[in-house]
């Protein structure tokens, strides 16, 4: 059905296939392709600072998407996402360092390993009704963090570990400009995969589990299977994101994968929009740009009365954490559907532009 260029005023779909297509019109598909092409050109006109931010948005966005599949689509909470992200980073570095696995292969393998570890914590909890998964992943967060610090053979202990740069056919992607393409490919592939998952029976089953688990069960959906599956997918995405992070920095330190980082992931998907695929990316962008904006505001306020009163330079780290907390609360109270919903409203406004009500 992708042969109309504007959305018709009414529902004229005659098959389920046309109802679930990714791009409702030719125009929207062309815009998406144009967007990817624009991104492909990015390294030619962006400086290192912006490229770095884009790469961050990329790998964090993949992990955030995984969390969104779990939280937004299945209605289970994970508070250990950063630990799984970290596990993916270490797993990929370990595979390529210890076994000489090529990095291009180590990244998906790290995703698989992270899924396996996620299952250890997820299996006991995901079979239960209610929010036991939240508590089990909280335990996972602390157990894994402890494991990172202790397992020297795996993580290099407190010294951390180096990760080899991403190489493909002898070409090393070790600069920001080249690594941008690696991340971009992964982002596109993972986001298309997730979009397609949500169009399939399994994706609809996840949403049914979220909306009313009892009705879902009555309709023949195996709750345990789908809760576990959703958690597995979310761990897989976290592992991929973490692995990309490791080979970008080429060094992984045992610190940093804290519960604060996990909450930041939750913040990303809440701000972006629970249950929205593109929202995950928007929320990640918001979360990555937030400290930059705060930094800019702080330096703009330097020397003014506000600066001296609040002692901004030292308080900036705390203010950032507070801002994350406030953003989570405000979005949940006032805009539970997040930035993705805002974006839809903006589009709807322009669609009917002169006659919008």
């Amino acid at each position: 059905m992708a042969n109309i260029s504007l959305i018709p005023c009414g529902d004229f779909k005659t098959s389920y296939g046309s109802d679930t297509t990714i791009f409702p019109t030719v125009t929207s598909r062309n815009f998406a392709i144009l967007g990817v092409l624009l991104l492909l050109a990015c390294p030619f006109f962006m400086d290192r600072y912006w490229l770095n931010l884009c790469i961050q948005i990329g790998y964090l966005g993949i992990a955030a998407l995984g969390l969104n599949i779990l939280v937004g689509f299945t209605g289970q909470i994970s508070i250990g996402h950063a630990a799984f992200f970290g596990f993916g980073a270490f797993a990929s570095a370990w595979l390529s360092n210890s076994y000489g696995v090529p990095v291009a292969l180590a990244i998906p393998l790290a995703g698989v390993m992270t899924t396996a570890v996620g299952m250890v914590f997820g299996l006991p909890a995901a079979r239960l009704k209610g929010l036991y998964l939240a508590i089990a992943t909280l335990a996972a967060q602390y157990i894994l963090q402890d494991f990172f610090a202790r397992a020297g053979w795996f993580t290099g202990g407190v010294a951390g570990t180096i990760a080899e740069p991403f190489t493909l056919f002898g070409f090393a992607f070790d600069t920001d400009e080249s690594y941008f393409y690696v991340v971009l490919v992964y982002v596109v592939v993972m986001y298309v995969l997730a979009t397609n998952l949500m169009r399939s029976r399994d994706g609809r089953a996840l949403v049914a589990v979220r909306d009313h688990y009892l009705s879902a069960e009555i309709m023949g959906i195996n709750l345990t299977k789908y809760r576990t599956m959703s958690f597995g997918i979310s761990s897989f995405y976290a592992g991929i994101g973490g692995a990309l992070y490791a080979h970008y920095l080429q060094f992984v330190s045992v610190e940093g994968f804290t519960i604060l980082f996990s909450i930041q992931f939750l913040g990303m998907i809440i701000i972006g929009g629970l249950g929205s695929i593109m929202g995950s990316l928007m929320g990640t962008a918001f979360m990555v740009l937030l400290p930059e904006v705060m930094q800019a505001v702080t330096s703009a306020l330097q020397g003014t009365a506000i600066d001296t009163a609040l002692n901004l330079k030292e308080a900036i780290a705390f203010l950032r954490e507070m801002a994350i907390g406030v953003a989570i609360i405000l979005f949940l109270v006032f805009e539970p559907d997040g930035l993705a919903h805002r974006w839809k409203q903006i589009k709807a406004y322009w669609k009917l532009y002169p006659f919008s009500h």
Binding site: V71, G75, Q76, I77, I79, F121, P124, A125, L128, K129, G130, L131, Y132, A134, I135, A136, L138, A139, A140, Y142, I143, D146, A149, R150, L214, E217, I218, L260, I263, L266, G267, I270, L274, A315, F318, L319, R320, E321, M322, I324, G325, V326, A327, I328, I329, L332, V333, P336
Partner: protein, 295 residues
């Protein structure tokens, strides 16, 4: 043998505090089905408030402490009315994420206001140690045990005999039925948050007096989870027993670790291993009600 007894005693003292915090956690969970991830921040705020009153205002403890409790009561009510009441009717998962947001917000705010380093309380008791059965125990520990037991007994009385407590139990049992009997569910929610905040603050001040006040206090709110899972998420008695078991267990784990295993950090991590194991073998805990649904 003495060592064993000492470990057991330490465990019981810490465990009693876990029990108190776990009880106030269960109170909120029972009343409104909200898993409160900001429980540890109640301890933190209470302890810092008391510390501030005692050091900056030079108030004696017996005045500063009641003021702290009154403040926490108001704080709990305001928090419920301002942040959580608008969330009524939203999916429970959103409400839980709001508590996560609250937790990170207050934790950062306390760090910002009072700094990241632990600050000691001014001494409260005349003699620092007391002798119990031939063991030297710090007076604060004894006091904390006594306070914990008093709170637990108070809870027991409150829910069994007082009208408010009975109304709360009715709300926890079935909100609609409670409403039809003339109980204001909104008031009950606010009260459960207020009492929970207040009781947690008592625990916070106690830990603060023992170890000094720092952001590490909020870790108590995390340690509550092993305790409540062990005892059963919706059982007040289970919370107390779970807290005691976790307290004893982490002390023994620490001892075993320092003697033989040398893994380090066992004191903090052992309860979480227990949590995972409990979820595997007895997910509804020792005293929790098992949900049975037939489809």
């Amino acid at each position: 043998m003495t060592l064993l007894f000492q470990l057991l005693l330490n465990g019981l003292i810490v465990g009693a505090l876990y029990g108190v915090v776990a009880m106030s956690f269960v109170l909120i969970y029972k009343a409104s089905r909200i898993v409160n991830f900001a429980q540890g921040e109640f301890l933190l705020i209470g302890a810092w408030t008391c510390w501030w009153l005692l050091t900056s205002w030079q108030l004696p403890f017996w005045i500063g402490f009641p003021i702290t409790l009154a403040f926490m009561l108001v704080f709990g009510i305001v928090l419920q009315v301002v942040v959580l009441r608008p969330m009524i009717g939203e999916p429970i998962i959103s409400v839980i994420m709001v508590t996560i947001g609250l937790s990170i917000f207050f934790q950062a705010m306390m760090k910002w206001m009072f700094g990241v380093f632990a600050k000691p309380f001014p001494p409260i008791f005349a003699s620092p140690t007391t002798n119990i059965l031939g063991l030297d125990v710090q007076t604060v520990y004894v006091a904390s045990l006594v306070i914990s037991i008093l709170i637990m007994a108070g809870f027991g009385w409150f829910f069994k005999y007082s009208k408010l407590g009975l109304a709360m139990r009715a709300t926890a049992f079935d909100q609609q039925v409670a409403q039809s009997l003339g109980i204001s569910v909104r008031h009950m929610f606010a009260m459960s948050w207020a009492i929970s905040a207040m009781v947690s603050a008592v625990a916070g001040v106690t830990v603060g007096v023992v170890n000094g006040v720092s952001s590490a206090l909020s870790f108590f709110g995390i340690k509550v989870f092993p305790a409540v899972i062990l005892g059963g998420l919706d059982s007040v008695l289970g919370a107390v027993i779970g807290g005691l078991i976790v307290g004893v267990l982490e002390n023994f784990a620490h001892y075993v670790d320092s003697q033989w295993l040398n893994w380090g950090n066992m004191y903090e991590i052992a309860p979480f291993y227990v949590l995972i194991i409990i979820l595997m073998i007895k997910p509804y805990g020792l005293f929790g009600t098992k949900d049975i649904e037939r489809v």
